[in-house]
């Protein structure tokens, strides 16, 4: 198959190309698709002329354009000034400089990597993905988006993160082998504190299973508990042990990963 490269000028043109071409990929920053080893990506639809870079306030949301690089996100004034999402900005800073300067928010979503520094955060924030298909615009939760087969994803235009939900607690933690590694495990927690009680608790993990997921069993077990409860640690461990086996891969077996997930969760809650 010969290589083909397309540079649409509009979103609709890009979507039409994707519908027309077989096995074509949307190309964002290029840190994934342009890796030389990914020789299967022979047809690319570059999104660099579509804009999709704005970070702006919309009613009740911060909208982040899909082509916003992680560096632009980190430097984005709207994020810094209007919405205290330090965890997202911190995660931008974890990524190495060269990658941060190229990788886009849309690419982060589109990659669906389980070992993602961002997807668990978007999951607990109940962020929404806006995408365009030939059938029109679709707005859905990140969780639903991740359930959808990649071929049915559409063109991601932006992600919406709810604004101003104080008081809240939002924190994440990661375990990686070294500083430029994708996380072996990434955990994110969001809840509304009522005194020392955790309410409306949301927990998500990357690296534990084949895709980043909300950990509903843990949320249920810990909902309404005091964050300084002595039994939190054992509750976390017991609940994780009852959950489906974690995936085993090069970075460790499932038991080890659950132990890491438990420790990260303990640390996050201890920071309440």
């Amino acid at each position: 198959m010969s290589s083909e490269f397309y540079i649409p000028e509009t979103v609709s043109e890009a979507v039409n190309l994707k519908e027309t071409l077989k096995r074509a990929f949307y190309l964002g920053g290029g840190t994934i698709l342009n890796a030389w080893t990914k020789k299967s990506a022979k047809k690319l639809i570059s999104l660099h002329k579509l804009g999709l870079k704005s970070i702006e306030r919309q009613t009740g949301f911060i909208s982040i354009g899909a082509m916003t690089t992680l560096t632009e996100l980190f430097n984005g004034g709207v994020m810094k000034d209007n919405y205290p999402l330090e965890e997202i900005l911190k995660s931008c800073k974890i990524v190495s400089k060269n990658i941060r300067n190229m990788a886009t928010v849309g690419g982060v979503l589109g990659s669906r990597y389980t070992r993602s520094d961002f997807l668990p955060l978007f999951l607990v924030l109940e962020a929404e993905v806006v995408s365009i298909t030939s059938e029109g615009e679709r707005r859905e939760s990140v969780e639903d988006f991740l359930m959808r087969p990649p071929s049915k994803s559409g063109l991601i235009t932006n992600i919406l993160v709810k604004e101003d939900r104080e008081p809240f607690f939002f924190k994440s933690a990661r375990f990686a082998r070294n500083s430029n590694d994708l996380p072996v495990i990434k955990m994110a927690v969001f809840y509304t504190p009522l005194g020392t009680t955790m309410t409306d608790l949301k927990i998500a993990a990357g690296g534990l299973y084949d895709k980043p997921v909300r950990l509903y069993e843990l949320e249920e077990a810990l909902e309404g508990k005091n964050y300084d409860d002595d039994k939190i640690s054992s509750l976390i461990g017991e609940t994780l042990n009852q959950m489906a086996p974690a995936r085993t891969d090069l970075r460790g077996n499932g038991d080890f990963k659950k132990a890491v997930a438990a420790s990260l969760l303990e640390d996050i809650i201890a920071a309440s």
């Binding site: 490269f5 190309l27 660099h48 430029n180």
Partner: protein
């Protein structure tokens, strides 16, 4: 498509395929600062450019993603003509330009930081350099770059030898300017457009016999020039290890064999006019395999009835090294001093433990590359090699031609660390060029570098150590089983070095070793910085620390009581030779005590450790280390110095500079000896047509052997200058001396070197003054050191964090102090990586599962310990040039035992294998016991 770009401030229009990578386009347009070392994964940063103000990996940008007016800045844009940019100057001053392959990317990282930060600090440095891999320097001295840019004094390195003018003082290395300016330096920079591109078809099985191979379809492909298989390749066996002849390694390797012995072994070599055609041809080659049983453990390989991996005739081997292919044994040696059993009986406490290590990769930034062509009917190879002369000898043997028909040019080497002591691809290029008569180039991908280059030997030890209640060590007994993989390059010498660099640290009267190496169907083992010493150091130092624990004696106290000192007679070295009897040594100088004392002071050895979290346990550990300085009785080196017409000099040195600063050392030694300035010397090194013989860069021989050859050449030049000066001044030889900056004087009159040169080179003169130096020896100085680590262990996950690391070493006189210090930092950081996360992984078919930097992690700048310092202390020695000893390899020997002992002191569990990955430590903590060996040493059963 056409795009108008701004490239380094100038408009330039490119017309390229939109799919093509920006890296390739820039490289093809002559910008040599763009280096592609990670298969486009974006994990090394060597192809960095600044695109519209931000640094990106150009290998990950497609041309079609660019737009008219995009602004691209590369490292070539830094210097203005011959004038270096302040960033380039700061890099040279800080000593961070070693092999130089990462340097352009690193400089752009600093530029991006300066462009974006008003007053950058160390945290900014870590952030902006976070995407750039440097394997040589250990990163620490990059922080000095920032200080130099701010006109601050970084306070290091120290200077040494106040009695000397230039030796022991920092200077800009002689090859520094060309490296920071990205001038043509490396093999890849020399390739001509007409070169054939070589690719290799690899075995998909760990052990198989090729029943038949059909290349007809591939050969019909237009543009395919040559395909080499077992059918038409040379039949001569050889060894790929670049070692002194006769080599202590078996001749068990063929250019292309009919039997495949590991996953990735050579099936066929294809040379074609382009990479695309070569790749296509490889796909068209049809192979019929007969699968054979495979063994992946040396313990399985040694079992009776195990499949034989090298069922061959050993009469072709150059030396008897205990090889027995009928039992898969590649090498064996045993020996010792005293009576170990008696020593153990006399002991009040005995430790008996098994230790093991896993495979790690050298991962030089520049993968293996070689370019060859015919010139005047002779074969020329431009190679990134540590051993130009061994390369010439081995190639002559393979091609069945004479050495005078071969010219090897060692280009700047983008990192070697041992991997380039072997012929990994040079034999392939030589064969293709010699058969086709056409220029040809081969460049390994990063994946090939992992699979087909050389890895550190997996070694298994059973150590028995005994000591009396007063702490006197009475016996050290080490049995070792090593895995050489399918071929026996270095199969005796690396495993032997595990003993010869660990046992002689102790004044123990009863020592014994028994070393066996077996063939397996794993990837090929070979040389890696330390050359077996890190594995042996781990085993012996851990056992001695456990002795101290059992005796209730502080570890440092036990070490002080038993460690060697200046003047001690190392009888054990007599038996620990390299395929022949070794030479017992008397220690010419020893800084062990000073290193140990200083390290203990830096880390606060006696201070209590406090953890603020119950699940975080803290501990400290230490290790004493040594290496050698070349191989006395085996190595040799030569150099020449020619006087030029204006009284300047040209040094021709056989020694091989791998980025370590050997060329600079040669110039400094010459400058010091001949009492004139550094800039009056130029140097050519490692060119087999131009420079004299040297064994090459391995066994830590550079400073001592190559340095002494240059020193002797300089002394010879001095002697000739004095003789000629006396003659011209019409005085007696005893009345003259040389004087800075380049005169011969009798106290009243003086002649400049230029005047002497004019007098000797003119028509009535006696001819150009040419001096020679040769060095062989039966004694060599030993460098010593002590490393200290402080760790935190998260007992919930097994995560080990190295909080503090101090390395104190002595190399006699540090001739290039800033470069020597950089090598210590580099060795330490590499070895911390080896301890915590570096590990090659394989499936049950022997296929490497992590042959890339995404899955095999190496330390980056943000991975340095929170407190991290390396120091050099000065020790007077009389053997080397101005007292210099080796410095680099030793640095890799301390981390594993120091960290392993620290983990014990934190958790109460002795580590028996490394790396100490979180998962491994987690398992040990969970089971609350010392983790058993991967294999039971006696039965060979997998645990």
């Amino acid at each position: 498509m056409k795009i108008k770009l701004i490239l380094n401030g100038k408009k330039k229009t490119f017309n390229e395929n939109p799919m093509k990578s920006l890296a390739k386009i820039l490289r093809e347009s002559g910008l040599l600062s763009i280096r592609t070392n990670c298969d486009g994964e974006g994990t090394c940063g060597a192809c960095s450019v600044i695109l519209n103000g931000v640094k990106v990996n150009s290998c990950q940008v497609r041309f079609g993603q660019l737009s008219d007016g995009d602004d691209i800045f590369t490292a070539e844009g830094l210097a203005k003509g011959r004038e270096l940019h302040p960033i380039q100057r700061a890099f040279l001053k800080a000593g961070v330009v070693q092999c130089g392959h990462c340097t352009p990317g690193m400089m752009l990282a600093v530029k991006e930081m300066l462009d974006n930060c008003e007053n950058p600090d160390i945290e900014d440095m870590k952030d902006y350099l976070s995407g750039n891999l440097c394997r040589c320097t250990g990163y620490k001295q990059y922080f000095d770059v920032l200080k130099y840019l701010k006109d601050e004094n970084p306070g290091q390195p120290k200077t040494f030898r106040d009695d000397l003018r230039i030796v022991g003082k920092p200077v800009e290395k002689v090859d520094g300017p060309r490296l920071v300016k990205a001038e043509p330096s490396y093999v890849g920079d020399m390739v001509t457009p007409d070169a054939l591109i070589i690719k290799v078809k690899k075995s998909p099985y760990p052990h198989a016999f090729i029943k038949d191979i059909d290349t007809s379809e591939a050969e019909e492909l237009e543009g395919v020039e040559l395909i080499v298989t077992y059918k038409n390749g040379p039949s001569k066996p050889y060894n790929t290890a670049g070692q002194g002849y006769p080599e202590p390694s078996p001749y068990d390797f063929h250019l292309v064999d009919r039997t495949m012995r590991y996953y990735g072994d050579r099936v066929a070599i294809v040379a074609a006019v382009s990479e695309e055609i070569a790749d296509k041809a490889i796909e068209l080659i049809k192979v019929e395999y007969e699968l054979l049983p495979a063994v992946f453990s040396p313990f399985d390989a040694k079992k009776p009835g195990a499949v034989l991996i090298q069922d061959r005739d050993i009469s072709v081997d150059p030396l008897p090294i205990g090889q027995d292919p009928k039992t898969n044994r590649a090498a064996h040696n045993a020996g010792g001093i005293g009576d170990v059993e008696k020593g153990l009986q006399e002991a009040d406490v005995v430790v008996e433990r098994d230790y093991g290590s896993h495979r790690v990769q050298c991962t030089p930034m520049e993968t293996h590359r070689c370019f060859g062509y015919i010139e005047n009917g002779r074969l020329t190879l431009r190679a990134s090699t540590q051993v130009p002369w061994h390369l010439r000898r081995i190639i002559a043997n393979i091609l069945d031609i004479k050495e005078n028909q071969i010219h090897i040019i060692k280009e700047r080497v983008g990192g070697g660390y041992g991997s380039k002591q072997d012929l990994v691809i040079e034999d392939i290029v030589a064969w293709v060029v010699w058969q086709t008569g056409k220029p040809a180039y081969h460049e390994m991908t990063r994946e090939e570098e992992f699979v087909n280059s050389r890895v550190r030997h997996t070694m298994f030890f059973r150590v028995r150590a005994g000591a009396k209640n007063d702490g006197t060590i009475t016996a050290l007994d080490i049995r070792e089983v090593s895995d050489t993989g399918p071929y026996g390059n270095h199969c005796l010498t690396v495993p032997m070095n595990a003993c010869s660099k660990s046992l002689p640290l102790f004044k123990c009267e009863n020592m014994r070793y028994d070393v066996s190496t077996y063939y397996t169907n794993n990837v090929i083992s070979g040389a890696y910085q330390g050359y077996g010493a890190p594995q042996g150091s781990f085993a012996i130092q851990m056992a001695v620390a456990e002795l101290a624990h059992k005796l209730g004696i502080d570890q440092l106290e036990l070490l002080r009581k038993n460690m060697v000192e200046k003047g001690y007679h190392l009888e054990i070295l007599k038996s620990l030779g390299e395929g022949q009897e070794g030479i017992a040594q008397v220690i010419s100088s020893c800084g062990l005590k000073e290193c140990l004392d200083r390290g203990a002071e830096l880390i606060g050895w006696d201070k209590p450790l406090v953890s603020d979290k119950p699940y975080i346990k803290k501990g400290r550990g230490a290790a004493i280390i040594q290496q050698g300085s070349g191989l006395p009785g085996i190595d040799s080196a030569n150099a020449e110095i020619k006087m030029l017409g204006d009284g300047t000099f040209m040094i021709l040195m056989g020694g091989t500079d791998l980025g370590t600063g050997l060329d600079t050392l040669a110039v400094k030694v010459s400058s010091e000896t001949l009492c004139c300035d550094f800039d009056r010397f130029s140097i050519i090194s490692s060119d087999t047509d131009v420079t004299p013989f040297d064994v090459g860069a391995y066994a830590s021989s550079g400073t001592y052997f190559s340095g002494m050859a240059v020193y002797r050449a300089a002394l010879d030049m001095k002697s000739k200058l004095l003789e000629k000066g006396a003659e011209l001044l019409k005085t007696d030889l005893k009345n003259v001396k040389i004087e800075y900056p380049g005169f011969v004087t009798d106290g009243t009159s003086k002649l400049s070197y230029a005047e002497i040169s004019a007098a000797t080179q003119c028509g009535t003169g006696s001819g150009q003054i040419i001096a020679e130096g040769n060095f062989t020896t039966e004694e060599a100085p030993i460098p010593y050191g002590a490393h200290f680590a402080e760790v935190s262990v998260d007992t919930r996950t097994g995560e080990v964090v190295v909080d503090k690391y101090y390395a104190v070493q002595e190399c006699g006189t540090p001739i290039n102090p800033e470069l020597a210090l950089g090598q210590v930092y580099g060795g330490v950081v590499k070895s911390i990586g080896h301890c915590i996360y570096e590990e090659m992984k394989f499936d049950n078919k022997g296929k490497c599962l992590n042959p890339n930097f995404m899955d095999y992690k190496v330390p980056m700048i943000r991975d340095l310990p929170e407190e991290f310092k390396c120091e050099l202390i000065e020790v007077a020695d009389h053997l080397g040039p101005y007292g210099g000893k080796s410095v680099s390899e030793i640095s890799t020997n301390g981390a594993a035992p120091a960290i392993g002992i620290a983990i014990y002191n934190a958790t109460g569990i002795w580590m028996q294998e490394w790396p100490f990955t979180a998962e491994y430590v987690y398992k040990a903590l969970k089971e609350n016991k010392d983790v058993p060996h991967l294999y039971d040493f006696t039965t060979g059963m997998k645990k």
